[in-house]
Symmetry: C2
Subunit: 421 residues, 2 copies
């Protein structure tokens, strides 16, 4: 992929008009321009809509995720920040600069309102998805920070401690989050960096995570990618083309939490930084690896047979008085059948963050799941994994966070408008 | 870019034959297959040749760089490792698995000889470039480790301490290095991870660095990309299409160091992890930013006028009794005119590694330069920057390493064959 020659400002002029007026529905309808360019550099997804983009949007290849703490004590400053972020996000997801002036225009006596490193890169399918953490509602002592405490969703609490959690507080929690996904990592980094810049004096970065390879598909139009265990991951993911399943498993309904009706049309984002002990994994026999997962490494088919998307037969008898899919196989432990039908929309990414203290790579899966209620969908599955999953021997959970992701942004409104009105 | 459907093993069968027999010349001739696929996923560069690939090869978009320490004391084990790495590198750069069996074939009772996460991703223009650090020749006490001490190049010493160096020893030095570049970061990560796996018991990872966006062009066929200051970088780079300049500035000649004639046809790789204080930079007026660099932010043209590739006029008078290009402008301080014509082949990458302690991004430029002699090309330029460069206020050097990069690998030989024979 070469750097394109169309400036981001030029692109705005050319395609901005086409972006307006795209209605909700599921995510594929957000794709308003995919013509021209190389590798989807000109693909744009509308920022405004019934739901936020970056959830059912076909999972882009690259991620930059940031969690921030709010440092201002002023509700007005917080709202002003969300307004400014909304305007900047709408521009950047169209492929334009973060500000109205641009990276190289305007006064030589002022800092540019865009940092410039994405000039010429196109929108690259950028989506920006915003979330609110528990700390936005109450501080560590339970005090109401911004007059929002009585609107805190019941389900929006710090995740409980799970077995195998060795959380680094510098990689966990946060008052706000932004998930930036794009086909070009420099576009995702540029967007996050400019949102941080805009937030100067009102927010500070708590932690930040890059992901280089998606590990889930969110559309039936996508192949299932592979995680760093070398296996296809998230085969049973809720997909954009399943509107009924999205309503059941992803989107918060108005009646779900009457005190937090502002979250209707939104969802919860659970983030978990999962270090994988790859050096140990790589020394396991192929048969053991497949037994731990419960799927064939090549095709992704369940060990009970068929193809990748064939339903696993958990009762199929195997040798040695057990089933073909072992009792502690990952696919069985996390399967919706074991959790009252609960499903998630997963949107995780592989990461490598340098080196660990053991002479290996600090690497693994940055797990992201969108769920309608973490108490019934995410937490029980995580607990079941901790109790029973053969994979746990190869996992260490080093980061954890939960955010409420408000519904999409309507014209004239800002991110999270309903929460503040 | 979606995950392709061509298996890496299938690709090997289809294109492996076309790879053989490609001769030296400059890097573009290495491109033996660029047809089909999306985003160059099927682009392959021959591993063997007069020079190692990954130097003059048109700079790929993504980087995974690893520095390793040798833990064995056996020369035979070290040579065996280089032989195994050579075989694996040749396979992986063709788009095949790391081992002859493959990620999902062979015995269920044995670990696979490939970790599997790159199944279906194609070669993606992967290059693997190997280097030898000073520690391979003598340990910290000056002892000859592998019978190589008398072949250590005079120029291969730990880089001196430079002003503004705040080096993290966990991000510096190393006995061996591998630079993996590819269009798809998962392909680069997969390659490094498998080389580490193959090295188990003989090497341990010292440090590892991902880069998400190239900051240099190594071919006139490429646009000049932008660093995280938002500026075009490396405009004056030595390019693949300049064979005379490559001979003068990049490739070591046999007469350069008679005791290290094994390095003829090779080069030196200087790596510097440069943290950029982006939050401070972003608050500087556009005019100041351009004055610090000496170029226009939009076009990349020198402030003395023209276009990006116009030669800067360092004498052009400006206002206030000084020149248009300030005495401390980066472009002046590092320009070949200030260093007896010395040029470098730069091949750096932007990075973001999470968060720093100040509530900002741990981000910057992972600088890589290939030079014929670091003593006359890299070190003087670095010292001049430290003394005079307006940019220094925004830079902190947190990692540093120097490696000798042997010549290309001929048929029947392994990486660094001449050093050990």
């Amino acid at each position: 992929m070469s750097v394109g020659r169309i400036s981001r400002r030029g692109l705005l002029g050319g395609s901005g008009a086409a972006v307006a007026g795209v209605a909700g529905g599921f995510a594929l309808s957000r794709e308003v321009e995919a013509a021209g360019g190389i590798d989807g550099t000109t693909t744009t997804y509308a920022f405004r809509g019934a739901h936020q983009a970056g959830i059912t949007t076909p999972a882009q290849d690259r991620l930059h995720f940031v969690a921030l703490d709010v440092t201002t004590e002023s509700r007005e400053e917080l709202v002003a920040l969300l307004e400014e972020w909304t305007a900047a996000a709408e521009r950047m997801t169209r492929g334009a600069g973060a500000g109205p002036v641009g990276p190289v225009e305007g006064s030589y006596l002022l800092p540019p309102d865009d940092t410039g490193e994405a000039i010429g890169l196109g929108a690259s399918g950028l989506t920006l998805t915003f979330g609110f953490g528990p700390g936005l509602f109450r501080d560590g002592e339970g005090r109401d920070r911004f007059g929002l405490a009585d609107r805190q969703p019941e389900a929006l609490r710090d995740l409980p401690h799970f077995p195998a959690d060795v959380l680094d507080p510098r990689r966990s929690y946060g008052d706000l989050c932004v998930q930036a996904c794009a086909q070009d990592p420099q576009v995702a980094v540029h967007a996050v960096r400019n949102l941080i810049r805009i937030g100067f004096g009102r927010v500070s970065v708590r932690w930040s995570q890059l992901g280089f390879g998606r590990t889930s598909s969110t559309s039936t139009s996508q192949d299932t990618p592979r995680n760093l265990f070398g296996f296809k991951d998230g085969t049973a993911n809720v997909k954009a083309e399943e509107p009924a399943a999205l309503d059941e498993h992803v989107w918060v309904a108005p009646e779900d939490d009457p005190d937090a009706s502002w979250l209707a049309g939104g969802t919860y984002l659970a983030a978990r930084r999962i270090n994988m002990t790859m050096e140990v994994w790589d020394r396991q026999p192929l048969g053991d690896q497949e037994a731990f997962i419960g799927r064939a490494k090549g095709s992704g088919a369940p060990l009970s047979g068929g193809e990748e998307h064939t339903a696993p037969d958990f009762d199929m008898p195997g040798s040695n008085d057990t089933t073909v899919i072992a009792p502690d196989a990952h696919v069985r432990v996390v399967h919706p059948d074991a959790h009252g039908g609960a499903r998630m929309l997963r949107r995780g990414y592989n990461f490598v963050d340098g080196t660990d203290d053991l002479g290996g790579l600090d690497a693994g899966l940055f797990f992201i799941a969108f769920v309608r209620d973490p108490r019934t969908q995410f937490i029980p599955v995580q607990n079941a994994m901790a109790r029973n999953d053969a994979l746990m021997e190869y996992l260490r959970f080093t980061g954890s966070a939960l955010f409420a992701v408000p519904a999409g942004v309507a014209e004239g409104e800002h991110v999270g408008h309903a929460l503040f009105s």
